[in-house]
Amino acid sequence: MLEQKEGSQAVADAVALCRPEVVCAYPISPQTHIVEALSDKVRTGELAPCEYVSVESEFAAMSVAIGASAAGARTYTATASQGLLYMCEALYNASGLGLPVVMTLANRAIGAPINIWNDHSDSMSQRDSGWIQLYAETNQEALDLHIQAYRLAEELSLPVMVCMDGFILTHAYERVDVPTQDQVDAFLPSYSPRQMLDPGDPVTIGAMVGPEAFFEVRYLMHAKQMLALDLVPEIAADFKDAFGRDSGGLLRTYRTEDAETVVVALGSVLGTIEDVVDELREQGVKIGVVGIKCFRPYPLDEVRDALGHARRVVVVEKSFAVGVGGIVGQNVRLALSGGGPTVYDVVAGLGGRPITKRSLHALLADALADRLERQTFLDLKADIVEREVQRLQENRLSGPHAENMLRDLGIVAARPH
């Protein structure tokens, strides 16, 4: 049924429709509306039977999820940013043990400096954790991906995180089509565990594994992610049959058939990019977009196929590996290694700085004129940075960077002398 609602509410609806038996989450901006909505649904009995556990930290959240999933319950949690880092040890534990937990990640920047706005640094920091990572472009897709995620997770016995841009999607009201319980039940059968703590058939889970077998257990995780490369599109196709719309999959191409320039991105910024691309197309520019939906496992072949024919690829990403450069850019180059298009890395939108059509137009104009640097930081206020670097050179006790820069920007009042 079509509804106009907040992204968080849509996700809570989707999760409830999946019939989780244990929901355990710790509140953190910008995920709070999701967990609040789920707590309401459990209280009223709309979501039953379900145990809602108010955990004392994100580390506890993922740990409770591990216990619940190992005991055979379909389990859900959600977090963002600092919370994801706090549960880091448990993330690896969940994937290492092969537990099909599904988690919403409301993408938010990681501090310091503390920042509650959107970027992809959190999910990117855990890209090697063994979790499958899916990225939603719209609230509809966020809703849909949770339903697909449970099927994916439970088939492979691997945990899945559904990434959706914090605030930009979680707090945006837009039109969504919320499926019925019958539709979801038909698509998502009840959880049938591959391993389960059951007094009727005792097993030992989580024993130490030495050099004799660790390698093989770890490799199996990789093998499962390789299977996901086949399963993700399969599930997306099934989803389309059942619900009548395209959602998920490994990646999505937009006007790339004859494109000389292709922009690559993840998440909600794809919408803004598509608008810009349409405007450029009207001017006769041969430009298209590739939206990567499944970042882990990384769809190497699909990315190569989608980009191989282009002359230039502009990767616009909300993430950044300090000391190296763009992360998605690196992964795109990997797919294109051995010739092909020139790849430009653009880091944008960190800490929630808006990515505007105006900036994108200027960026792409430079790209089309081959004026772009290999690595660009979109809308970076370089003068503020230079002033701070200057300060560092002048004075040993130069003070906290953030405060100094905010003062330069006029956001913080001048220090009285």
């Binding site: 106009q4 930009i168 009201y173 837009e174 794809l270 919408g271 598509e274 608008d275 990515i355």
Partner: protein, 193 residues
């Protein structure tokens, strides 16, 4: 696409105003996107919310820098924050105030923008009268419906009902309707500035 930017202070229901606007547009069968400019919300701090309305799917996500309509819930912001930045040349401006644009010190706006699109509406007073509380958000949405013609009053009423159940909803609908009628009258007599 029609873009609305709403300014106010934390605690005045600015975000809810944008949401109601988007729900009303949805009920009218259109696509709408509403979202706040997010901050560490605290009562009294300046808050901005956005709403886009279109007949096709809205894909863009950036904050609205060139609004077609401006709603100002709190006139104390007028000379503190640059509210009028980026306004389209034929923009609508709706300000919550019992005073006129001239009295608010905004006379020069009347030269830049079409007069019938500049409305000062005593929304807080109407809210107090019909709702018993000085929360002007839904009221202003009612006024906006009349001013812009982009959403129907009927849909605004339904949207309000979705957001506010019971007596709260009744009061808000009454206030919004009063605002709608007031603005309609004002538009018919262009002597408000």
């Amino acid at each position: 696409m029609f873009q609305v930017r709403i300014h106010g202070r934390g605690g005045q229901g600015v975000v809810t105003a944008a949401e109601i606007l988007s729900i009303a547009a949805f009920i009218d069968g259109r696509h709408a996107q509403a979202f706040p400019s997010f901050g560490s919300e605290r009562t009294g701090a300046p808050v901005v919310a956005f709403c886009r309305i279109d007949d096709k799917e809205i894909r863009v996500r950036e904050p609205i820098s060139e609004p077609d309509a401006l709603i100002v819930q709190d006139p104390t912001l007028l000379h503190q924050v640059d509210l009028f930045n980026g306004l389209a040349p034929d923009a609508y401006i709706l300000i919550n105030s019992a005073r006129t644009f001239d009295e608010l010190g905004l006379g020069e706006l009347c030269d830049r923008f079409p007069r019938e699109r500049l409305i000062a509406l005593p929304a807080t007073d109407l809210a107090r009268e019909h709702l018993g509380r000085p929360i002007p958000n839904a009221v202003l949405v009612g006024g906006f419906a009349a001013m812009s013609g982009r959403i129907s009053l009927e849909s605004v009423a339904k949207a309000i009902r979705e957001k506010f159940p019971g007596k709260l909803g009744d009061g808000n609908i009454a206030a919004a309707t009063a605002a709608f009628e007031l603005v309609q009258r004002q538009i018919q007599e262009p002597t408000h500035a």
